[in-house]
């Protein structure tokens, strides 16, 4: 939160139609553990996500990657019986600290889900500006149109839908729906974008589009992506973290670092086995 925001206790009223000039939004997780009920699923994960870059979280199913991702933007706590420990710092401020508003954390750390989930009752345009509307930003006329266009352009969807913004979002193809969801996340101007296997339900062409979008977004924001696709991790990310849960134990980060190093010269044998497709 900026100095002004701290003084007034409110989000500074930026002109939502204009892209903000970004200071480095730095995200780091320290000693994050997670439980569902008494079952521990994640053990003391510490990771740093450098600004303006893509970090891939890789690892076999059930190793806690998605849980970890959901802890980053406080979606984890909406699951009954879910618990967590540790700190998640956004620009140095623990988002779990008392007094931090969960809605503001989620606005600043956007999320794209595995399954495209546009609001079916809303048109394409309404879907895009649903976020500003839900966070209390009134957009009208020109600035509304501007936010819609800018968000759709950043998500690489503008040219395909610009003539049918008032059509229902649910009528788009799966890949287009997912880019619509990305546009919807971008409309609230987040500093970080979390993506939970965003391409796993999509065909190869749509996947390519989304990867291109991710690479462009990474110029201006921090992106964290969970993926099961090793090639995708190689293509889009600069850093990677390899998660692994051994039988009966909570998930841990085995190794993390520059993506090229993780894939070409991992220090841990298990990483080597995984990235070469020998298990998982």
């Amino acid at each position: 939160m900026s100095a002004l925001g701290v003084l007034t206790g409110r989000r500074p009223s930026v002109d939502a139609a204009q892209p903000r000039t970004r200071s480095a939004a730095h995200l780091e997780a320290e000693r994050v553990s997670a439980w569902f009920g008494d079952h521990k699923v994640l053990e003391r994960v510490s990771l740093t996500f450098p600004n303006a870059s893509v970090t891939a979280l890789i690892g076999p199913s059930g190793c806690g990657k998605s849980t970890f991702l959901r802890i980053l933007n406080r979606m984890h706590e909406s699951t009954p019986t879910a618990k967590m420990a540790g700190e998640v710092r956004l620009d140095g401020v623990d988002v779990y600290a008392a007094g931090e508003r969960v809605t503001e954390t989620r606005r600043r750390i956007g999320m794209v889900f595995q399954k495209p989930n546009p609001f079916p009752a809303m048109s394409i345009g309404e879907n895009v500006i649903a976020g500003p509307k839900l966070t209390g930003v009134r957009l009208k006329g020109a600035s509304r149109a501007e936010v819609i266009e800018r968000s759709l352009r950043r998500a690489g969807l503008w040219d395909e839908v610009k003539d049918r913004l008032d059509r229902p979002g649910g009528a788009l193809s799966g890949g287009q729906q997912q880019r619509l969801c990305i546009a919807r996340s971008l409309a609230v101007d987040p500093d970080v974008l979390l993506m939970d296997e965003p391409c796993s339900a999509l065909d190869p062409t749509s996947t390519l589009y989304i990867e291109k979008t991710i690479q462009e977004l990474a110029h201006e924001m921090t992106v964290v992506i969970v993926t099961h696709n090793m090639q995708q991790a190689l293509r889009v990310s600069q850093q990677s973290a390899f998660f692994l849960a051994e039988a009966g134990k909570p998930g841990v980060v085995v190794e993390s670092g520059p993506t090229t190093q993780i894939f070409e010269a991992p220090t841990d044998e298990r990483t080597m086995d995984y990235v070469n497709g020998r298990f998982g």
């Binding site: 999320m111 989930n117 079916p120 009752a121 649903a130 839900l134 966070t135 649910g170 799966g174 996340s185």
Partner: protein, 338 residues
């Protein structure tokens, strides 16, 4: 390597139209299919029989009085004057009052249970609301007559004093009189409507809650991840998804309220005049009329009562049908699950 399949030499190669496909029901599938269909038809047949019986029995009355059966306000079968005008107005009044009070309570209770209540409390609340539905209506009648009425007359007086600029709240008495006419405020459509509202709340609430809790998790999370408050999630996801359920649940409640008998009979004092001042003593509803006059009816009076029953049957049937259409659509059409 692709291998070409040699065409069946017997097949007519020019034919290219849809084939008949055997559904392939076997054994117990076939038995279940047949019995389910039979039971469904029996239910449909039952409803047709009820309608047919009422129509047949009431026909002499409808034939004799014609249109005046619907325009005459008085019900004096011994003087050959029989009409439903006042009774139908009373029926609709009581039902609408029940809905005006029951709808917001049911709606907010359903929202609270599905969206705000902690998980531990949720099951308890659900069963409490369901328990409300299990209480016999005579109990609600007694409750309304003996317990609620003595208190409600003060609310009625307050309404007549401060809201009498709305014509329906007017009462012909001086609310400031030293000894105000309490009996003017008793046994009214207002009090009967409140007792009925207690009976329709569980029904409406259960349907709304079920539809709300079916709102897709993916969309809820999408809204939450954008920074929405709980109310934001409700407004953008739950209510659009549950809209038809809300309408359907309300209509079903209306259907129930239209037919509610015993509680109304206990509370109201009979009055056969068309009046819209709902706080004033006296009203009459169709079902209360039938229940009240059934015992000592002569054959021709019975026919008149059954004709009244036929009209009520048609009213509730159409309301419930519309409601069912809304509720069913909300379950099947609103989601876009891929």
């Amino acid at each position: 390597m692709p291998v070409a399949i040699a065409p069946n030499p017997e097949a007519d190669l020019d034919v290219d139209e849809p084939r008949a496909i055997d559904e392939g029901l076997v054994g117990h599938d076939r038995v279940f299919h047949a019995s389910a269909r039979t039971v469904g038809l029996v239910v449909l047949l039952l409803i047709l029989c009820i309608g047919g019986f009422l129509g047949y029995q009431g026909f002499p009355t409808l034939q004799r009085y014609g249109l005046s059966f619907f325009t005459e306000t008085r019900w004096l079968p011994e003087r050959d004057i029989v009409g439903l005008a006042a009774v139908l107005v009373g029926t609709v009044e009581v039902a609408l009052i029940a809905l005006a009070i029951g709808f917001p309570l049911a709606f907010l209770t359903a929202l609270f249970i599905s969206e705000y209540a902690p998980a531990r409390l949720r099951t308890t609340l659900v069963s409490l609301v369901d328990l409300m539905a299990a209480v016999p209506s005579i109990i609600y009648g007694l409750l309304g007559f003996a317990f609620l009425q003595p208190h409600l007359i003060y609310i009625a007086r307050w309404l007549s004093e401060y809201a009498s600029w709305i014509p329906i709240f007017r009462v012909d008495t001086d609310p400031h009189a030293a000894a105000w006419a309490q009996s003017k405020f008793t046994a009214s459509a207002f009090i009967a409507g409140i007792a009925v509202s207690l009976m329709v709340i569980p029904l409406a609430c259960a349907i709304m809650r079920a539809v709300f809790s079916e709102a897709p998790l993916g969309e809820r999370e999408a809204a939450a991840a954008l920074g929405a408050t709980r109310w934001g999630v409700i407004r953008s996801v739950v209510l659009p998804f549950g809209r038809r359920g809300v309408i359907g649940g309300t209509m079903l409640a209306l259907g129930r309220a239209l037919g509610e008998t015993i509680a109304v009979l206990l509370i109201i004092s009979p009055a056969f005049e068309i009046k819209f001042r709902v706080l004033t003593v006296g009203t009459m509803t169709t079902s209360a009329l039938i229940a009240g006059r059934f015992g000592e009816a002569t054959p021709s009076q019975l026919s008149a009562l059954l004709a009244a029953g036929f009209v009520l049957f048609l009213m509730t049937l159409s309301v419930n049908t519309v409601a069912a259409v809304f509720v069913n659509r909300s379950r099947t059409g609103a989601g876009t699950d891929v």
